[in-house]
């Protein structure tokens, strides 16, 4: 067991160090979510709990948005899960590195998977082969980012009531999605998926219970896949 200590220390320190710059973006996002909970007027404890149970900003904000629109329970959960389907991609990409981990690590670590943790780990795993260092890196980075997210949520909830009415809090919710979608527009299929997704969501705005978002998402994925298939390689 003492032989593992340097590897544990190396992985954990590298993970936490990698998470620090990510906090610059994670904290205000958590803050925006906390403020959004206050603005939505829902039970703040339940809203804060979502940062522990879901731990995914985009999905949590979409749930808030749909709760405000009185969407049905099924639509709210389905929208959150559709948004979080991108984690399946990270899961696929990280699976080979996770394979040598003990079963309890393979079961526990995915809870901490976020966009930032997955991206940092994929980069780190390219240079680091030791599974002990790898898993402690993921734990350090994942926990570091999660803690910042939780703190941001609490601060946002606390400050929410104190923020002057001259600041348009309601704008923070669509704004977060705008800043999240821009980095995903990396090629023609992704751009097509976004344009079609947004366009169909608007065109089907009359659908009840926020179903226009699911309609837009489905149309966007189909349109993007068609362009991906047709474009020259």
């Amino acid at each position: 067991m003492p032989m593992l200590v340097p590897a544990v220390r190396t992985g954990l320190a590298a993970g936490v160090a990698a998470a620090v710059p990510m906090a610059v973006a994670t904290f205000p996002f958590g803050l925006a979510y906390g403020v959004g909970v206050t603005a939505a007027g829902i039970d703040p404890w339940a809203g804060a709990a979502a940062s522990w149970t879901v731990l995914a900003g985009a999905a949590q904000l979409s749930m808030l948005s749909l709760i405000e629109r009185d969407a049905s329970w099924v639509v709210i959960v389905a929208a959150a899960l559709v948004i979080n389907l991108r984690f399946a991609l990270y899961s696929v990409a990280l699976a080979p590195a996770f394979r040598p981990f003990p079963a309890r690590w393979r079961v526990g670590l995915p809870y901490l998977m976020t966009d930032q943790t997955a991206a940092l780990s994929m980069r780190f795993f390219g240079d680091e082969r030791d599974p002990v260092v790898r898993r402690w890196f993921f734990l350090g980075a994942g926990l570091g980012i999660a803690v910042v997210w939780w703190v941001g949520t609490i601060v946002g909830l606390t400050l929410g009531a104190a923020i002057p009415s001259s600041i348009d809090i309601a704008f923070t919710v669509p704004l977060v999605f705008v800043v999240l979608v821009v980095p995903t527009l990396v090629d023609a299929p992704a751009l097509t998926a976004a344009v079609a997704g947004g366009g169909v969501a608007l065109a089907s705005a009359g659908l009840p219970n926020g179903l226009n978002i699911l309609a837009g998402a489905a149309a966007g994925v189909v349109a993007g896949a068609i362009v991906d298939r047709w474009r020259p390689v």
Binding site: A46, T53, I76, V77, L94, V178, G220, V221
Partner: protein, 105 residues
Amino acid sequence: MRLWGLFVTAGVGTYLIRASAILAVGHGLVIPAGLERTLRLIAPAVLAAISANGLLLDQGAFNTRASWYAGAALAIWIVARWRSASWGMAGAMALVWLLQQAGIR
């Protein structure tokens, strides 16, 4: 109580998505390349649908708040130019505040 149920259900579902391939590949499953390419389109499609819904619509009608459009445009420019979500949000919020202080809704 309904809210707690919502957030716990979404949390359990999200965990299962996160763990899906990691646990399945641990048992020898191989993901088809075509499906992997399609999965990466989910993020832009969903995020754009939510963005359009939240930004352009207000109670089912078109949103007429010009300050929001200006703020969103600035955020897009900042994020595209400097890859910083934080600065994009800060700049957009500042611009919306300034415009609204100037009487532009």
